[in-house]
Amino acid sequence: MLWRRRRRQDRELAEELELYLAQEIEDNRARGMSADDARAAARKKLGSRALAREAVYEMNSVRWLDTVWGDLKYGLRQLRLSPGFAVTAILTLALGIGANTAMFELLNALRLRSLPVERPGEIMQVVVDGGIKGWGTSDGPYDATNPLWEEIRRNQQAFSKVFAWSRSGFLYGEGVQAKIIPGVLATGGMFSTLGVKPYRGRLLSEGDDRRGCAPGPTVISYGMWQREFGGQDSAIGAKLMLNDKLFEVVGVTPPEYLGLEVGNRFDVVVPHCVQHVWGDGLEQKHVWAVIVMGRLRPGWTEEKAAQHLKAASGQWFAAVPPTGYAASGMATWQRFRLTAAPAGTGVSGLREQYERSLWLLLGITSLVLVIACANLANLMLARAASREREMAVRLAIGASRKRLLAQVLSESLLLAAAGAALGAMLAGTLSRTLLWYLGNGKDEHQLDLSSDWRVLVFTTAVALATCLLFGLAPALRSAKADVAGTIHVGARGATAGRNQFLFHRFLIAGQIAVSLVLVVGALVFVRSFHKLTTVETGIRQEGVAVHFINFVPLKVAQEARLSMQRQLLDRVRSVPGIEHASTTTHVAMGGGSWALAFRAPDLPGKDGGWSRFTWASADYFKTMGIPLKAGRDFTDRDTPTSPHVVIVNEAFVRKYYGNANAIGRQFRTTGEPGYPPTPYEIVGVAGDTKYFDLREEMPPIAYAPQTQNPRVGPWIRIVTRSSIPAEDAIAAVQRVMQAEYPSVRMGQFVLRTMVEERLVRERLLAWVSGFFGALAVVLAMIGLYGVLSYTVARRRNEIGIRLALGSERRGIVRLVMVEVAVLVAVGVAAGGALTYMARQGVGSLLFDVTPTDPEMLVAAIAVLAFIAGAGSLIPAWRAAGVNPVVALRAE
């Protein structure tokens, strides 16, 4: 509206002014002036017509908006004049901002975002104060046994409502098509406590969760509803076969509700009480089985709830003591206390595993962005310098410094905005790719990565910060132009002053410093990853496959399980291509752990200790390629009724017997539920292996024969070594099993692949830090090259004079190279200090490498020095090639 009126009035005014002029001339002529005098006098009286028009124009404008718009248009025009620069700048910024935003999106989804439940701030988790520290049995992040949960539910005061849940895989469907889907077992109060509303049908309520309940209602996730039922309403009432029991779908959870465990999806929610049909897990007093959560009573705070739980939980633990433990184990149990922790952002294994890495990656990407900004600042400075005369002239004819500053900054703002927009688009793809990568290329993890206000604020803040970082210095520089000096110098031509390049040099040294941090980081992470992949595991992993066979459907009686296991093992062993096969209760480096404490009267200096335990059959050592150093392997003569024997590894011997011969020694395990105290005799010594993961030291391990395992389940884990590739062995075993035991369920994997997949965090850090380290180096080189080319060009006169006065060309090259050497030295010194400061952040993420490893530091410095040399060679050579006559005549 305003601008339309503005344009019309401007047009009209021009016409009016013409008329005024004509009238005035006529009047003057009427007074007897000559034509020329009349016109001149009229003009004089009118003064500047442009000023009048401007006054009216401004009257109709929102002034600052108009100015900003004008500046932006001007900036756009300037950028269009140098498209190469604009494109490079925008792409660099897009990559930098995109990478930062991607990391932030992941962190936001994993750490900051609240669950989509009512007033998430009130949701607390009941946890064991100080953690359970490996006590008892657990297969998840659980803090309560089921009997303890019932004590909590009965006696707690802190929460208006409480509920317990656990995660569980369910076998969905029947026969060959059956597959494992992720699910949740929840007590009836879960949805009402959280305030989650059904998307279709109804959700589970207290009425569905009665002790001893039969399989019946189940709730499915929105994702499952879409996938399996095509989002049809007919899904309500549909029957689902879960773990061989029939359930009925009663409702669907809303799409934004991805469960309480951030990062891991769920497909079904089944009432907690149903578990008794699959086993006696609910009655176990030593099995950590559930996560307990509650909504704070009105007026209660986290501290008050924590105090209440700490004070009252001693009684609850005492009320449900596990049986079968030795006195020391029970003492630990009695010392356990509960406390409260905020759970409004859900629980997450993914978070614990990756949060530190993600913060670190955010740090790395932000450093890269800083380097990119320094580069841009240098480029902009060079551009500003070439426009110095223009600026000086504009200042001289009355432009205000503020306006010039705004104009140059608006150019930076345009670049930053374009970079941020492009980066935001890039970020979505990047974060999704990263999540997929963390899941080893499977859709294991599910996060709500949609942008929210935090992401928006973050990206905007980053864009503004970058804009100021690279735009402010050049803008200030332009606005500060020394009018007389510049116009004068520009006209005459001379050497550029030393101070003029000081800021460029500062930026370059800074870039080198930050690059050093990134290069050291990259080297350290790559080295750490390399060390992990090549670390001695004690196991020959090639050709080893693991086959987990669940024969529950065969309904084998307890007494016959051992012979069934034997039968399956023999069948697997006879598959063509299989060289060795053995059972084992534990897959080395698979992340599981089973440890038992023992007492022994003849240990030097102590009366007992603890060891990892694995029950395996004969040939285990041959299958895994572990050397048997002394004694014998298990044989058929080791039966359930013969004396109990173990083979220990060398670490066990070293730790407990020193240099003495361990064969024939005896110890007695202390009791745990299901594992009564048992005397063992050591009959063999095996080579050391990793047990839990690759990072740990070789721990003491005791191997006992599977025939003497006190708990034989209706399943078996078989490891095979094959002459054919492990993948083919898996297929062969699967074919045989499907043909002969069609109802058993199998899970199979290649040992090597499993070990590699467990290194995903290390691999991620190595890749990303490597990539950004390389990028940093390239950016630093480009920056150095740019600045040197520019300074050389500006010093052409000086160099020409030097050459004319007899300086050798070698001397000119030296002149440039010395400058570079000083820059690198300053940068490296600063970078070394930075690296030293940054070391704490990464230490725990590394394996067998320290972040300030001198070797790495030297390597990084060498890389940077080489790159600096390469980047400065061409400008130096160009400087030496200056023709003094041409250079001096050019003035």
Partner: protein, 117 residues
């Protein structure tokens, strides 16, 4: 900014007085810019010089405020010219301004007192 001061609208004249004089001039008959300037200069015995740098912004401001209206007509020497006329609102404004001005003059006169030679 330096430029802004020049184009404030009132030039050397007291703020608001030009507006008042334009309205007064238009009270007699509609006129175009040149005539208005002339009329003011004439009736002030050439004491007040109206620069168009002040005149036209003032005219547009008055028009935007609705105190005067414009129409296109033909000038004395047969050129297309933009004529201005005063609106009822403008008349009201003029009488307001006038009384305000008179009280101001009275007040200033009292402060200065009788002329002493």
């Amino acid at each position: 900014m330096a430029r802004k001061k020049q184009s404030d609208g009132s030039g050397d004249m007291l703020a608001g007085t030009l507006d008042m004089m334009i309205l007064k001039t238009l009270l007699a008959a509609p006129a175009h810019g040149h005539t208005i300037a002339h009329a003011i200069e004439k009736s002030s015995d050439e004491v007040l010089q109206v620069e168009h740098g002040s005149l036209y912004p003032a005219l547009y401001k008055l028009e935007n405020k609705g105190w005067i209206a414009s129409f296109w007509g033909t000038s004395e020497n047969n050129r297309r010219a933009k004529y201005y006329r005063i609106t009822p609102d403008g008349r009201k404004q003029l009488s307001n301004e006038r009384s305000r001005w008179e009280s101001l003059v009275r007040a200033v006169g009292q402060v200065l007192g009788p002329v002493e030679d």
